[in-house]
Structures are given as C-alpha cells and as structure tokens.
Amino acid sequence: MLPLGDLEKKVMEALWDSPDALTAIDLRDRLSGQKGSRELAQTTVLTVLSRLEDKGYVTRARDSRPHRYRPVTTRANFMAELMHDVLGAARDREAVLARFVGGVSEDDAAALRRILAGR
C-alpha cells in the first residue's frame, strides 16, 4: 500500500484534474483505475480526504449525500503560495528554509568591496 503522503498527492491530483466536485466513490474508482495502483478501500479514501480537509486543502459540500469534495484552490495557487515562501520577501524565511542563492541585505555589498580591497 502507498504511504499516506503519496495517496494524499494522488487524491489532490485527481481533484485538481476534475472539473466537478468528487465523492469518495468517484475518487476510489479513478485512483483504482490508474496504472500500477492496487484496489483502494473506500474507507482509506475517506481517511485521506478527512486528513486533507483538516489541513485545509479540500472542502466538502455538506448539502449532498454522499459528500462531494473539491480542492480549496487551484494547483497553480498552491504553487504560488509555496513559491512565495521561497522567493518572496518574507522576513522570517531564513528561519524557515535555506535558499541556494539570494536573501541578502545591502550591507553585504559593502562587505564584499572591503574583502576584495583587503586581499
């Protein structure tokens, strides 16, 4: 069986790819139909959906039975949020992640001139 994290990703992808909100049964059928994946129990899909709902990635329409789930926002918007953490001017970024290039102040320009002058 897939780790829960991978299943969450597959469920999200199925929801993003679908124009309409989906029920757990729809999702089970779509995921089970995928190449290389085993038969999924509907309870597993429901567990994954409730985890995703708790974390704020999907919502469900409460007026219909069975419940229909949809992503809170598009894949592109989630990607933008992610990239904002990485590339945006968030003040606490250095405490959160270490980027390969960037995130430095004016003072370093002066520091560089001194270093190169004093060699």
Binding site: G5, E8, K9, M12, K55, Y57, R75, A76, F78, M79, A80, E81, L82, M83, H84, D85, V86, L87, G88, A89, D92, E94, A95, V96, L97, A98, R99, F100, V101, G102, G103, V104, S105, E106, D107, D108, A109, A111, L112, R114, I115, L116, A117, G118, R119
Partner: protein
C-alpha cells in the same frame, strides 16, 4: 559582588555594541567562515550571560558574598518577608529585570522555533502535494516550476532538498550536483539551529544593532560553510557557475510573484563567487586559533565572574 557586577556590565555593553560592530565590518570572516561563526556565537552567548549576570550580581550583592549564598539568602528573605540591611528597592528592581530578561529571551526562542516549525510543516505539506521524488537522490523533491530554484527545508527529524524543473533545465549535471551538495550541507551541518537562535535573538532585542548585524553576518557565513562543504566533492568552477546561472536566471524575473516583492541578486552570491574563483585567501591557521581562543575567553570571563566568590 559589586565589582563582579560592574565588570559583567562593562562586558555586556562591549558585546552589545563595539565588538559586533567591529566584527561586522571586518573582512576576515569570509576567509574563515567557521571561525567567524564560532566567534559570533560566543559573542551572543557571552553577551546574554553578562547582561543577565550583571543584573543578578548587583541585585544579590546585599544578600551574600557570592551567587549561591546570595540566591539562598534571597529565597530565605522571600520566605520570611524581611530584607537584609543594605538591600534597597534598586536591588529588587535589578533582580526583577534579570528574571524578566531571561524569560524574555527564552520565550522569544520558543516562539521563534514554534513559528518556524509551523511554517515548515505547511511548506512540507505543500511540497508533498506538488512535487515528485527526484530520481536517485534520497530526500530530494522535484517541483514542476519554471524559475531556477533550489533550497533546503530543514526539520527536526527530517530535512529535504527541493529543486525546480527550471533549475534542472538550466544547469549541467555537474553544476546540479554542486547545488545539491550545497543544500545538503545546510541540513547535515544543522545550520537551521544557528540561524533560528540568531533569529530569536533579533526578535528579542530589536533595538540592539548587534542582533541585526549578527543575524545578517551569520546568514552569509552559513552559505560560505555550505559552499566549503560542497567543494570537497564538486569543483569550485561548477559551484561558482551554478551560483552565477541561478542568480542570473532568477533576476530575469518571475511571473507568479510580483516583481516588487521579488528579491533576486544577493551580494552574498558575489562573496561566494569571489571565494570560489580563488580571489579570497583562506585565513592563516594561527589567526584562526587566536580567534577561537578569544571566543573561548569571551565565554570563560562571564562564567568565572559569576561563579567566583566575592570579588
């Protein structure tokens, strides 16, 4: 004890202003980032220790002739509600200030760690949903994103390296390996712990120039350290080229995020390239040894002053 309190106070002032200003303007740290990082940590620790220690020693002076006796007598006084002769309001004020300052620093550290962990958890979830595993590299994820981006997301239990499709397209396999080694060095050397401690210090003492200077200096130093670690397995040329390419690629801009809040070129990358091009000499070993000895002395002096019997 008054003598020790006065010396600690002097040390606290020196470490809060002239020493960090002097160090921040020195040119040698990029020649030996590890040594400089040791010194910055010693300055921060010794500074906090002498600040709190000075207040504590001054406040406890009427209660006893050293820290332990003073504390015991003070707790006794709290119990029976009487003050020894020579104890004034000002001593109680100093003791309260010591207590509040200690709590303030500890709470800020806890809050900073908590906030960063929360941001990281959300970020890790998003990466898990939006990326795929990068083949043949453990704990490395690939984001389908055009801008050339690479970063390390540290964690208390697990850390991961995240690369973008744009980066893979931009770099040769050797340059890509240099980037991965650099990011992995951040994780294995636990740079996040140093950065978060200085971040907390900055949050706790925003009005002290020292905290800002130290925070910026330390952020640059860990980049240099990660470069040095990567250089053990990749060539200087590949790493320098990777830095140039990613910097220029990022400067080209990004449509997802507004240009105004987009921050690309960092002078730290220029320092890094200068080192990799061989334009910065490493520090002589005896100078490094001297600096480390100075850092140890910085820590030993306030500790001794605090523990010494009456001075």
């Amino acid at each position: 004890m008054i003598g020790a309190a006065a010396l600690l106070g002097l040390l606290a002032v020196a470490l809060a202003w002239p020493v960090p200003v002097f160090l921040a303007s020195a040119s040698w740290p990029s020649r030996s980032p590890a040594t400089a990082l040791v010194l910055w940590q010693a300055i921060a620790l010794a500074g906090a220790l002498s600040m709190i220690g000075a207040l504590l020693m001054f406040g406890l002076a009427p209660f006893g002739d050293n820290l332990v006796h003073g504390l015991q007598a003070f707790l006794g006084s709290l119990g029976d509600g009487t003050l020894p002769p020579g104890a004034h309001f000002i001593q109680l004020f100093a003791l309260s200030a010591a207590l509040l300052l200690g709590l303030h620093l500890a709470l800020n550290l806890a809050a900073t760690v908590y906030t960063a962990e929360r941001s990281r958890r959300r970020h890790r979830e998003l990466v898990a949903l939006l990326s795929s595993p990068y083949p043949e590299q453990p704990r490395t994820r690939l984001l389908d994103y055009d801008a050339p981006v690479a970063y390390c997301l540290p964690g208390t239990v697990r850390s991961m390296t995240v690369l973008s499709a744009g980066l893979i397209q931009l770099l040769t396999p050797e340059q890509l390996r240099a980037v991965i080694e650099h990011e992995r060095a951040h994780a294995t050397q636990r740079h996040d712990l140093v950065l978060i401690a200085f971040r907390a210090w900055r949050a706790a003492l925003p009005w002290f120039p020292v905290a800002n200077l130290a925070g910026e200096a330390v952020a640059t130093l860990v980049e240099l350290l990660a470069d040095d670690r990567a250089r053990r397995v990749v060539s200087d040329r590949d790493l320098a080229d990777a830095i140039r390419l990613v910097r220029d690629g990022l400067s080209a801009g990004d449509a997802t995020i507004g240009a105004s809040e987009f921050e690309a070129e960092g002078p730290a990358s220029a320092v890094r390239i200068a080192r990799l091009d061989g334009r910065v000499r490493p520090l002589e070993p005896w100078v490094s040894a001297l600096v480390v000895a100075f850092a140890s002395a910085l820590l030993a002096v306030p500790t001794t002053l605090l523990l010494l019997p009456a001075l």
